[in-house]
C-alpha cells in the first residue's frame, strides 16, 4: 500500500516567483508605503550583508553568517513588532535587527568580536544573538511567561533555523507555550540547510511547522520569499499572541543563497543547479517586480535608494572601524554586579599585564 504524503499544514503564498499575483490580495496592500518600507529595508539588509562579508574577506571582521536570500522573513517579522515586544533573534536576523533600530555598526561590532555590539540602550529588552542552536526558544518562552505574569503588554518573538527545530530546547519551548498559553510567536527560517545537512535529513516530518501541532499550537507554512504572505501570517500570529490567545508556529520557507558562514564553502555539499533555481525565487527581485507592475517603483527610485543605502552603510562601517578597543578592565567588569574579591585581584593582574608590567614574579 502506498503511503499518502501527510501535509496537514496550509502554505500561504500571494506572489509567485515572478512577482505575479496568484491569490486575491489583502486590503492592506493598497497602502504602498508598507510595501515600499519592506522593500527599502530588504535592500538595506542585502547591501549591508554584502558589506559585512567583504569586511570579513578583507580581514576587518570575524566569521560572519550571511542572511542572503532570507531577508524577507526577518524584515517583515520585526516590522510588525512593537517597541515593547521582545525579539529573541537568531544569527541571521541582521535586517530585522536594523528594523528594530539597532544600528548596523552594532551588528558589525558584534561580529567584529566586541561585546559592546549587544549593549546599547536602543536594544531595549531584546536578546543578543544566540549561538547555541535553539537554546533561545526557551528564553523566548520565559520572556513570554514574564510578560504574562507581570501583565505587560508586549509579546515575545523567537527566530530560529530549520536545524534548530531538531533540538529539544525548541520542542520544550513549544510544549510550554501550548500548556501555558504564552504570548510568543516562533518563526522558523527554513532555508533548507543546516550547514551541510539538508532539510530532509533533519527530520522525517513532512513539515517543520507541524511540530507545533503536537504542542496544541496553530501552525502554518508560508512562502518566506513573499512579503505579502509573510505579513498576513505573522500579523495574525502577533495579533493572536497580543490578544491573549497564545502562541503560533510559523515555518517560513526560503533558501540560504550564501555559504553557511564566511568560514564555509557550500559548493562542497550542494549543486549549482539547486542554487540557480533558488535564485529564481528570491524575495527582493520578486517584490521589486510586483512594485514595478503596480506602478509603485521605477528605475530612478531604485538608483536613488541604492545610493542612499550605500551612504548609510559607509557611515556605519566607519563608526564600526573607528570604535577603539575596550579597556582590559572590561573583561572583568561585567561578569558580576558585585565583583568577587578573587576577580578583583585577577583584574589588577590583567591590567598590569596589559600595561607591560610584571604580573608573575
Amino acid at each position: 500500500m502506498e503511503q499518502k504524503e501527510l501535509n496537514p499544514i496550509p502554505i500561504y503564498q500571494y506572489l509567485d516567483a515572478e512577482g505575479e499575483v496568484i491569490e486575491r490580495l489583502p486590503g492592506w496592500t493598497e497602502d504602498k508605503d508598507i510595501l515600499l518600507g519592506y522593500y527599502r529595508h530588504m535592500v538595506l539588509g542585502r547591501q549591508a550583508d554584502a558589506k559585512a562579508v567583504a569586511l570579513q574577506r578583507t580581514g576587518q571582521m570575524g566569521t560572519y553568517p550571511s542572511c542572503l536570500g532570507q531577508e524577507a522573513i526577518s524584515t517583515v517579522t520585526c516590522a510588525l513588532m512593537k517597541k515593547e515586544d521582545v525579539l529573541v533573534p537568531y544569527y541571521r536576523d541582521h535586517p530585522g535587527l536594523m528594523v528594530r533600530g539597532i544600528p548596523l555598526s552594532d551588528i558589525l561590532l558584534y561580529w567584529g568580536g566586541d561585546e559592546r555590539g549587544s549593549s546599547g540602550d536602543h536594544w531595549g529588552k531584546d536578546f543578543p544573538n544566540c549561538v547555541p542552536i535553539a537554546t533561545q526558544a526557551c528564553h523566548a518562552a520565559g520572556v513570554a511567561a514574564a510578560l504574562k505574569i507581570r501583565q505587560d503588554s508586549g509579546i515575545a518573538v523567537c527566530a530560529l533555523g530549520d536545524g534548530a527545530t531538531s533540538k529539544g530546547d525548541f520542542l520544550e519551548a513549544l510544549n510550554l507555550a501550548g500548556a501555558w498559553q504564552l504570548p510568543v510567536v516562533f518563526v522558523i527560517n527554513n532555508n533548507q540547510w543546516a550547514i551541510s545537512v539538508p532539510r530532509r535529513i533533519q527530520s522525517g516530518a513532512p513539515t517543520l511547522a507541524q511540530k507545533g501541532v503536537s504542542a496544541g499550537l496553530p501552525s502554518y507554512q508560508v512562502d518566506g520569499n513573499d512579503v505579502i504572505a509573510l505579513h498576513e501570517v505573522i500579523n495574525e500570529a502577533i495579533d493572536r499572541a497580543r490578544s491573549g490567545k497564545g502562541a503560533t508556529v510559523i515555518e517560513a520557507i526560503s533558501y540560504r543563497l550564501g555559504d553557511h558562514t564566511t568560514a564555509d564553502d557550500a559548493s562542497r555539499y550542494r549543486s549549482s543547479d539547486e542554487l540557480q533555481q533558488a535564485w529564481g525565487k528570491e524575495p527582493i527581485k520578486r517584490l521589486r517586480t510586483f512594485l514595478h507592475h503596480r506602478g509603485y517603483w521605477d528605475e530612478q527610485q531604485e538608483q536613488a535608494l541604492i545610493k542612499e543605502v550605500s551612504l548609510q552603510i559607509e557611515q556605519e562601517v566607519q563608526t564600526y572601524l573607528n570604535t577603539p578597543l575596550p579597556p582590559v578592565k572590561d573583561l572583568f567588569d561585567y561578569h558580576y554586579a558585585n565583583m568577587p574579591s578573587a576577580l578583583k585581584q585577577q583584574k589588577q593582574e590583567a591590567e598590569l599585564r596589559a600595561a607591560g608590567g610584571q604580573s608573575h614574579e
Binding site: V86, P128, C138, A145, A146, A337, A342
Partner: protein, 326 residues
C-alpha cells in the same frame, strides 16, 4: 521563636522572599500542589497562587531556559531542579547563557535567577540521586555556587541568593535537610555570599568543608578536642567565588589544613583550595595539605555509600597525620 529543620528554613526563606518582593517567582517540577518532593515549597502555592509558584512540564533545559528569559525581563525566578542528578540538561543554558548574560550585553541584560537543587549522598536514594557534582558548576565564570550547612545558613544564604543580581546555584545537601533544628524566623539575618564562615576557633589545624560534610567535620573536631588538639573549622558555604582570605588567615595561624568534601577527589573544589594554599601560604604550611573526599568512582548505590562518604574518623586521622608530619 521556633526551631526548624534546614528544609523548613529553605521554605521559610522562599516564603519571606516572595512576601517581600512581588518579582520573586518560583518554578519547577511538582513544586505547586505537591510542595516539592522534599516539601521545600510546601504551602507556597496556596499562599501566592499558581502565577507565582509554577508547576512546569518535566523539562529541565526548559526550566533553566525560561528562568533566563524571565530574569532578563526583571523577574527573579527561583527554579527547583528536583535532584542535582537531573541538573545536567540545564548546563548548556547555565553555562552558555545565564552565566554570561550580563557580560555579553555589558550589563544591559542580567540574570538574577536562583537554581536550587538537593544534592549529595546518604539518604538511600536510587541511582543518579546521590552525587556531588558542585565542582562542574563552580568552574564557570559568572555563576555563584552556594551550599548551606545548617538551617540558619540555609535561610540567610538563600535570601541573599535571591537578592543577588546575578545567577546563583543553590545546592541543598539533602542528607542534612532534617538532621538538626535551629531557631529561624523573620529576624534571622541574611548572610553574605562569597564568604566562608568560621564555625569553631582553633590553633592546631584548619578543617575546611561545606554542605553535609560539615556535620562529620564538626564531629571530628570535637573528638580531636578530646585528644587535646584544637581544630579550627571553616564552612566554605560559597564555593564559587571562593573566599580564600578566610581560609588563608586560618592556615597562616594553624599551619595545617585538611579539606573535606563528599565529591570525587580529582578536580574537585578541594583541589582548588589546596592549589591556592600552595600558591599563597606555602611558607606557613607545616605539613602537606590533606584531602578527605569521595573516591574517583561513580557514587555507589546505597548499600555501599557509607564506604564512599568521608567519616569523622577519616577526618580525624587526616588531621592527626598533618600533626605528626615532620
Amino acid at each position: 521563636m521556633s526551631k526548624i529543620t534546614m528544609v523548613e528554613a529553605v521554605n521559610l526563606a522562599l516564603d519571606h522572599a516572595m512576601e517581600s518582593d512581588p518579582d520573586v517567582v518560583m518554578l519547577g517540577e511538582d513544586i505547586g500542589v505537591n510542595g516539592g518532593v522534599f516539601r521545600a515549597t510546601q504551602g507556597l502555592k496556596d499562599k501566592y497562587g499558581f502565577k507565582r509558584v509554577m508547576d512546569t512540564p518535566l523539562a529541565e533545559t526548559l526550566i533553566a531556559g525560561i528562568s533566563i528569559g524571565m530574569a532578563a525581563q526583571g523577574l527573579k525566578p527561583v527554579a527547583e531542579i528536583q535532584f542535582m542528578g537531573f541538573i545536567f540538561p540545564t548546563m548548556e543554558q547555565l553555562i552558555c547563557h545565564a552565566a554570561r548574560m550580563r557580560n555579553r550585553t555589558r550589563g544591559r541584560l542580567s540574570c538574577p535567577m536562583v537554581l536550587r537543587a538537593p544534592f549529595g549522598g546518604g539518604i538511600h536514594a536510587p541511582e543518579h540521586h546521590s552525587e556531588s557534582t558542585e565542582a562542574l558548576l563552580a568552574h564557570i565564570p559568572g555563576l555563584r555556587v552556594v551550599i548551606p550547612s545548617s538551617p540558619v545558613r540555609a535561610y540567610g544564604l538563600l535570601r541573599s541568593a535571591i537578592n543577588e543580581p546575578d545567577p546563583v546555584i543553590f545546592l541543598e545537601p539533602k542528607r542534612i535537610y532534617r538532621a538538626s533544628k535551629q531557631e529561624v524566623d523573620h529576624k534571622t539575618p541574611l548572610l553574605p555570599l562569597d564568604k566562608c564562615f568560621t564555625l569553631k576557633q582553633g590553633q592546631d589545624v584548619t578543617l575546611v568543608s561545606w554542605g553535609a560534610s560539615v556535620k562529620e567535620t564538626m564531629e571530628a573536631a570535637s573528638t580531636l578536642e578530646q585528644h587535646g588538639v584544637s581544630a579550627e573549622v571553616i564552612d566554605v558555604a560559597t564555593i564559587k567565588p571562593l573566599d580564600m582570605e578566610t581560609i588563608l588567615t586560618s592556615v597562616q595561624k594553624t599551619g595545617r589544613c585538611v579539606i573535606v568534601h563528599e565529591a570525587c577527589k580529582s578536580f574537585g573544589a578541594g583541589a582548588e583550595i589546596a592549589a591556592s594554599l600552595a600558591e599563597q601560604a606555602l611558607t606557613f604550611l607545616k605539613a602537606p595539605v590533606e584531602r578527605v573526599t569521595g573516591f574517583d568512582t561513580i557514587m555507589p548505590y546505597y548499600r555501599m555509600e557509607d564506604h564512599y562518604l568521608p567519616s569523622p574518623d577519616d577526618i580525624m586521622k587526616a588531621a592527626l597525620k598533618t600533626l605528626s608530619f615532620h
